[in-house]
């Protein structure tokens, strides 16, 4: 401004800002007064904001504002509201029978949504995020069930678990026939091949089928049943189908028969509330394998 030379535009007779672009000078057009006042008001408004809301950073915290507003408190309120809404719906879920939940599209949707979330938090570490299972951990999408695949059976398994230590847990295990000296190594190889033959898998050359059948009848039928169809009362798998929890190759079978198997499913009663367990049962059942 010290060097200011006021230009007067000869056409309009008004002063210019002195700024020139290619011979064109900018007229000094004043702002409307209301505009300027509004501008100052926004500044005042901003100062009000500093006072009312959290604003200035301090060394280890920040100014809180006289309203004591915090976005975290907002989230807490919204979460509480959400819990309340969900609470009402979960009451309805808890009151309905498992079969009725599957029949009612709204309850089914709620159970599936709730079940999926809880499954992700609690079950996915063993059964996988999509319940596809892993070696030793059953795939819950298929139709092969160790302890039964009806809604009630699934719910029971979730509630009390298998070999979980809970009083009502599923009990029964695959004995260690080799380790405990019940069968000799060559007998184990023979019976392993016999088991493979039950589901149509190829067997080792020179394997004695009659001997295998005899060993199977003496040692395995008690749990796995006549013909190896399995027994869900004891969690003994069906040995004639295409699904193998640990694997169907000879080496794995020999390991299974020698060392035994006793996978653990924890009991969820007490850890999850009854309505949530119901939702879980419906969710697992709806994955597609439910009976």
């Amino acid at each position: 401004m010290t060097d200011h030379q006021s230009d007067i535009d000869s056409v309009s007779g008004r002063s210019t800002t002195g700024h020139e672009w290619d011979g064109i000078k900018e007229l000094n057009t004043p702002l409307p007064r209301w505009w300027v006042i509004t501008f100052y008001l926004t500044i005042v408004w901003a100062i009000g904001y500093w006072i009312v809301y959290p604003a200035w950073p301090l060394i280890s915290s920040n100014t809180r504002g006289v309203l004591g507003y915090s976005s975290r408190a907002d989230v807490a309120v919204e979460l509480a509201n959400l819990d309340k809404i969900r609470g009402d719906k979960m009451v309805a879920l808890g009151a309905a029978s498992l079969a009725d939940i599957e029949k009612d599209p709204a309850l089914l949707a709620l159970a599936r949504a709730k079940g999926k979330t809880v499954f992700g938090d609690n079950c996915a570490p063993c059964h996988g995020s999509g319940a596809a299972g892993a070696k030793g951990y059953p795939n819950l999408n298929d139709d092969d069930w160790l302890w039964g695949g009806t809604l009630d059976q699934i719910m029971q398994t979730i509630q009390f678990g298998a070999r979980s230590g809970h009083a009502k847990a599923h009990e029964g295990q695959m004995l260690a026939f080799g380790k405990d000296g019940v069968l000799k190594p060559d007998e184990i190889v023979t019976v392993a091949n016999y088991v493979r033959s039950l589901s149509g898998l190829p067997t080792r050359n020179g394997y004695d089928a009659a001997k295998g059948e005899k060993i199977f009848a003496e040692n395995c039928v008690a749990c796995h049943g006549e013909g190896g169809k399995g027994n869900q009362e004891m969690g003994a798998p069906n040995l004639t189908d295409k699904i193998w929890l640990y694997g169907s190759d000879e080496a794995t079978l020999i390991e299974t028969i020698s060392q035994g198997r006793a996978g653990v499913m924890p009991a969820w009663e007490g850890r999850l509330d009854p309505a949530t367990i119901k939702a879980m049962a419906v969710y697992v059942h709806s994955l597609g394998g439910g009976k």
Partner: protein, 488 residues
């Protein structure tokens, strides 16, 4: 062009220019004539539509809203007479906005700022507010006198001011009230509003729109056009030399001469301009400009100066339309003694009309032929395939069925993919094996979990396409979607 002045020689503050300028209040005078009548008519039409449309009923059958125009935000539906739009059809609004923008361009290239002068809400409401002001405080001169008067206010003047603002606020309040009626069933909401049982958000919106209407139409007026609105700047870039703008025909008007002197000069056989410098065009202007200065940004081209000038011209016995819709080309042609030409049909206007026509008909075509039944399919990602105990392969899909019609449908689902595959919908006891049937209520969507199982014998390849057909078994309407069937 510019003379440089040394600061020390400056005497008045004006030479530097003030930092901010006080507003020059505009006192438009009442006027009557063709364009004023058009404006009254359009104002009545626009406000009539805006205030009363929410009360128009339209029967859509039981259970559906019967309001002709309704933006149902909680249920994500938009109703416009026989049209119902879902959120995923929002592109119709995009199309509508494009058509509206090009229509604005077309208006501009034909007749200048027709939008600004006649149809813009800012103009319409400001016009209403001016009418109220005029009715209560009198015409231009009276209002100027009352505002300038330094006498202490008498009761009469105070009651005038109070009355004016009360009526303004009433109109503004009604404007805000009508707005919220588009978002809920109007008769119900009106009842709730008067009994103070309407949702808080309704009162908040009424408050906001009352405030904006009152401030923008009552107080800001032409300042909105001059300082806030981008359209005056944009239209300057859109216009061309053939566009008909409100123009002072200076070829006819200059030199400006008083009535008496003009008569004397005409008697002597001399030619004089028709403009008698009566300033009527300035007096009626709602933005307070002088149209005789030529085209300018502040001019909203409402045509009121044409009416004012026509009245004067008729009175002094000269031809009307000294100010009229015209352009510089014709002014120059007349100066050269040639007949004016009006080119409404030219490349620019034709192009705009074609764009409007093409987009408009495309929208109407797609709207008329859109399917009221739709299906989306999403393959399960984890696990992609499941082997069952008998060796068969199963894939799971999330199927979303959309029934956009006003009646419930019974839908049959078929899949065209792996040989001899069976279908099952979780939670549905299928009456017809392998062809699940589902009921979808009117105007809703259903999300289903669909299991497709291919028997072990069919031995499906790693991945084969599968096409899902959904058929309304009552009406035969169908839709389909494609995904893949995957084997482990």
């Amino acid at each position: 062009m510019n003379k440089t002045v040394n600061p020390s020689e400056l005497t008045s503050e004006d030479d530097y220019g003030p930092l901010y300028a006080a507003r020059k209040k505009v006192y438009p005078q009442s006027v009557s004539g063709t364009f004023r009548r058009i404006k009254w008519g359009l104002m009545a039409f626009c406000l009539g539509v805006y205030y009363f449309l929410p009360f128009v009923r339209w029967n859509r059958g039981l259970g559906a809203p019967d309001q002709a125009v309704l933006i149902d935000l909680p249920n994500s539906r938009f109703y416009f007479f026989f049209i119902e739009l879902w959120p995923q059809e929002v592109y119709y609004f995009t199309g509508l906005l494009i058509v509206a923008a090009v229509a604005l361009f077309l208006m501009n290239s034909v007749g200048g700022r027709i939008w600004c002068g006649y149809l813009c809400p800012q103009t319409v409401w400001t016009d209403v507010f001016y009418a109220v002001e005029r009715l209560i405080e009198g015409d231009r001169r009276e209002r100027m006198k009352k505002d300038k008067s330094s006498d202490p206010m008498k009761l009469e003047r105070i009651s005038e001011i109070v009355l004016k603002h009360s009526i303004w606020l009433l109109i503004a309040w009604w404007t805000g009230g009508a707005w919220v009626l588009y978002f809920n069933d109007a008769p119900t909401l009106v009842k709730q509003l008067v009994t103070f049982q309407a949702p808080m958000i309704a009162y908040i919106w009424i408050g906001i729109l009352t405030a904006t209407t009152y401030v923008l139409a009552g107080h800001m007026r032409e300042q909105v056009c001059n300082y806030m609105c981008p359209w005056p700047r944009i239209q300057a870039a859109l216009t061309d030399e053939w566009a008909l703008n409100v123009t002072y025909r200076y070829d006819r008007g200059e030199k400006r001469t008083s009535v008496k002197k003009a008569a004397e000069l005409r008697a002597l056989g001399q030619s004089v301009g028709d403009c008698v410098d009566c300033y009527q065009c300035v007096a009626v202007c709602p933005t307070g400009i002088d149209i005789r200065d030529g085209a300018q940004m502040e001019c909203i081209q409402c045509g009121l100066c044409i009416d004012a000038c026509d009245t004067v011209m008729t009175k002094i016995g000269r031809p009307t339309r000294l100010i009229g819709y015209d352009n510089d080309i014709n002014i120059h042609r007349r100066q050269e003694g040639k007949a004016p030409i009006y080119k409404i049909v030219r490349a620019r206007t034709v192009a705009y009309a074609v764009i409007i026509g093409v987009i408009g008909s495309f929208m109407i075509y797609t709207l008329a032929t859109r399917s009221l039944l739709d299906v989306n399919v999403l393959h399960d990602r984890n696990p992609v395939a499941v082997k069952l105990s008998d060796g068969s392969i199963r894939n799971a899909y999330t199927v979303r069925l959309l029934n956009k019609s006003g009646y419930d449908r019974v839908i049959a689902i078929d899949a065209n993919g792996p040989v001899n595959a069976t279908l099952h919908v979780v939670g549905a006891d299928s009456v017809t094996p392998d062809r699940p049937m589902i009921v979808i209520p009117r105007d809703s969507t259903s999300e289903l979990r669909l299991l497709v199982t291919a028997p072990a014998e069919s031995n499906p390849e790693k991945s084969i396409p599968v096409r899902f057909h959904v058929t309304d078994i009552g009406l035969g309407e169908a839709a389909s979607a494609t995904d893949n069937f995957v084997a482990p």
